[in-house]
């Protein structure tokens, strides 16, 4: 198994008038070829910023990658010049964004938005690119592909647009697809279709996948590995099975308990995590989750926990791992 992506101690910060926001604060993870990795967490925990950092699409100002390394397929992306990065984006790494309604250009045809990357990265002629674009639309399950190419985004439904986004992401045979909350803006029935499509395509084409989501159901069903993020840090990681069977960080445990389950008696009430996600510009000392944590002890307010092994490849960053394990 070869490593496709290795992120080491990534730090991405945003300078605002009030504070320095450490959106991603020392994140490390690796992705093996052909695997699916899920980045999980609440809004504002740094999962999208991690993905945009890999693409080097952090808007500057105000954002900046301050340190760390991102090695993709043997190349250090942070050392590349902007035009060299342009040959990675869209070609080696495809991206699917959260908002299908606004992520497509309203004044260009679907065909043009598909063909431009093909012409740029694969050197296709306009005619060949059009043929390939129609083929891509068929692959993502859009009927009547040839005539759809001449249409504009507003003539597509949300689910169809997200299919177009997926077609765009895989168009140049990338090694990696990053999907940033790909189904959040879609109807529940469409969500499943889009996820199935992505899973099926990436498996068939041998593409590695990073799914960013706050939906634990998505993780359970589609991911090999899971990184749980909180306040810009990874606080638990492991295989999906490990994290589900044996959540070792109080935050992960809290997330799992906040999900309603059909196999529990109806009388059982949900147990949500109390409080609000922290202000990234003004984090408490010690563990960032400690103010909301029911297992917190004195030490949690002073020392920041680091990831420690709790099993084969399963790690969690918590001083109270034993207590959490005993509690469930």
């Amino acid at each position: 198994m070869t490593t496709l992506l290795e992120v080491q101690d990534l730090r991405t910060q945003f300078t605002t008038d009030e504070a320095l926001v450490k959106a991603v604060d020392g994140v490390s993870f690796t992705l093996e070829e052909g695997k699916t990795l899920a980045l999980v967490g609440e809004s504002g925990c740094g999962k999208s910023v991690s993905a945009l950092s890999v693409m080097r699409l952090i808007p500057w100002p105000p954002g900046r990658i301050v340190s760390g390394s991102i090695v993709f397929d043997g190349v250090d992306l942070l050392a590349l010049r902007e035009h060299e990065m342009g040959r990675i984006r869209g070609k080696e790494i495809g991206m699917v964004f959260q908002e299908p309604m606004t992520s497509l250009n309203p004044v260009l045809t679907i065909g043009r938005q598909l063909t431009e990357a093909l012409e740029l990265h694969l050197g296709m002629s306009r005619y060949d690119a059009n043929q390939r674009a129609a083929e891509l639309l068929r692959q993502v399950g859009i009927p009547d592909a040839e005539s759809r190419l001449a249409q504009y985004p507003h003539q597509f439904s949300g689910g169809m647009r997200q299919r177009v986004m997926i077609a765009m992401a895989i168009s140049c045979n990338p090694k990696l697809v990053i999907a940033d909350e790909p189904t959040t803006a879609l109807d529940v029935t469409i969500q499943a279709q889009v996820l199935e499509l992505m899973k099926e395509l990436t498996q068939r084409l041998g593409v590695s996948l990073i799914i960013i989501t706050h939906n634990l159901g998505v993780v359970a069903r589609y991911a090999d590995d899971v990184n749980v993020m909180y306040a810009g840090k990874i606080i638990e990681r492991g295989s999906a099975a490990q994290v589900y069977a044996n959540p070792s960080h109080p935050y992960t445990l809290g997330l799992l308990k906040s999900v309603p389950r059909l196999d529990q008696p109806k009388t059982e009430s949900l147990d949500p995590i109390q409080g609000q996600p922290p202000d990234l510009g003004n984090l408490p000392p010690g563990c960032a989750f400690q103010p909301r944590c029911r297992y917190a002890v004195e030490r949690c307010t002073a020392d920041t926990p680091i990831l420690e092994s709790v099993g084969d490849g399963h790690e969690a960053a918590c001083w109270q791992i034993a207590e959490v394990a005993a509690a469930h």
């Binding site: 495809g94 991206m95 004044v107 431009e116 765009m168």
Partner: protein, 319 residues
């Protein structure tokens, strides 16, 4: 689309009629009497004889009731007859057509300059937000918005004559009669018009571009690996120009108004100076025809802009 244009054309009819009524009434309410001006002569040396004035009124039809005057004028206008100037006794049609090319040329040159300077400046400004280029461009935009055009025109005249000992040649030629001379004459006026328009266009393009550059689809375009130039030209520009184009009908109307002043400053015998002269002398027939033309031009312009708008933005459909 054809149906849309037709519908708009039909809707324009009441607008044009309303404007004729307004201009007719406003002129009649204004103090000053064309018959008196004529009786006194252009140098006011004549004698204001009550009987003579009454005779002139009789001749011009000004002693008839207002509704009658209005309907006579409208009736003639519908048949394409706009009467004659009370002073020069040349037909209004002749007065206008002989002056029209200069003004049309001036306005077009001004508008082209406005876009040619303003839009690129706005784009660069947005791309280099808060950098030196942006600050300088915004400073000049505000400056040219704040300075009245007649003053800029006078300063330009002064500047070229003092520093280069040059002023625009006198005696006017149409573009196709004597292109070099024509450009030298209209150039400075068009420049003043254009720079003012460019200031507006630059500011609108900048703010519109900044908004578009923050859109999700620009991030998508960058995620495809497109070069920054391609992202700007192919993905951002067309979206950013939609509001600029749709407002250009309004700014062009201001530009037309600006020609009145600039033609006076540069003594260009165009429609603007004709309008000013005829207002001063209450030459009703001429003013009425000129206002009518302006109204029709502005209405047509709005129609053209709507059509361009639909071409720029496929979400708009006029069916």
């Amino acid at each position: 689309m054809g149906q849309y244009v037709l519908r708009r054309a039909i809707l324009a009819v009441p607008t044009i009629f309303a404007s004729t009524l307004v201009v007719f009434l406003v002129l009649r309410v204004l103090p000053g009497d064309v018959a008196l001006f004529i009786a006194l002569g252009t140098d006011a040396s004549g004698v204001a004889d009550e009987a003579a004035i009454e005779a002139i009124r009789e001749e011009l039809g000004l002693n008839r009731p207002l509704p009658v005057q209005y309907f006579v004028w409208i009736g003639n206008a519908l048949r394409g007859e706009f009467g004659e100037s009370a002073f020069t006794h040349r037909t209004v049609a002749y007065e206008i057509t002989s002056r029209l090319p200069l003004t049309v040329q001036l306005a077009l040159m001004g508008q082209i300059l406005a876009f040619a300077i303003g839009i690129p400046l706005g784009i660069v400004s947005a791309m280099r937000r808060d950098k030196a280029v942006d600050t300088i461009s915004r400073f000049w935009s505000i400056l040219f918005l704040a300075m009245p055009q007649f003053w800029v025109a006078l300063m330009l005249l002064l500047f070229t004559s003092r520093v280069f000992n040059w002023s625009p040649p006198l005696g006017y030629f149409l573009l196709w009669e004597h292109p070099g001379n024509n450009m030298l004459q209209l150039g400075p006026a068009a420049l003043v018009l254009g720079v003012g328009g460019a200031a507006i266009a630059a500011r609108m393009t900048r703010s519109s571009m900044l908004e578009v550059l923050g859109e999700d689809y620009i991030r998508t375009a960058r995620a495809k690996g497109l070069m920054p130039g391609v992202v700007i030209i192919r993905h951002a520009l067309r979206n950013a120009l939609i509001p600029v184009i749709s407002l250009s009908a309004v700014t062009f109307a201001f530009l037309l108004a600006g020609t009145v002043i600039l033609e006076t400053v540069y003594s260009i015998p165009g429609l603007g100076s004709l309008m000013l002269t005829s207002i001063r002398t209450r030459d009703y027939e001429v003013i009425q025809a000129l206002v009518l033309i302006s109204v029709v031009v502005v209405i047509l312009l709005n129609l053209v802009v709507d059509i361009v708008y639909a071409w720029l933005d496929p979400r708009i459909s006029y069916s």
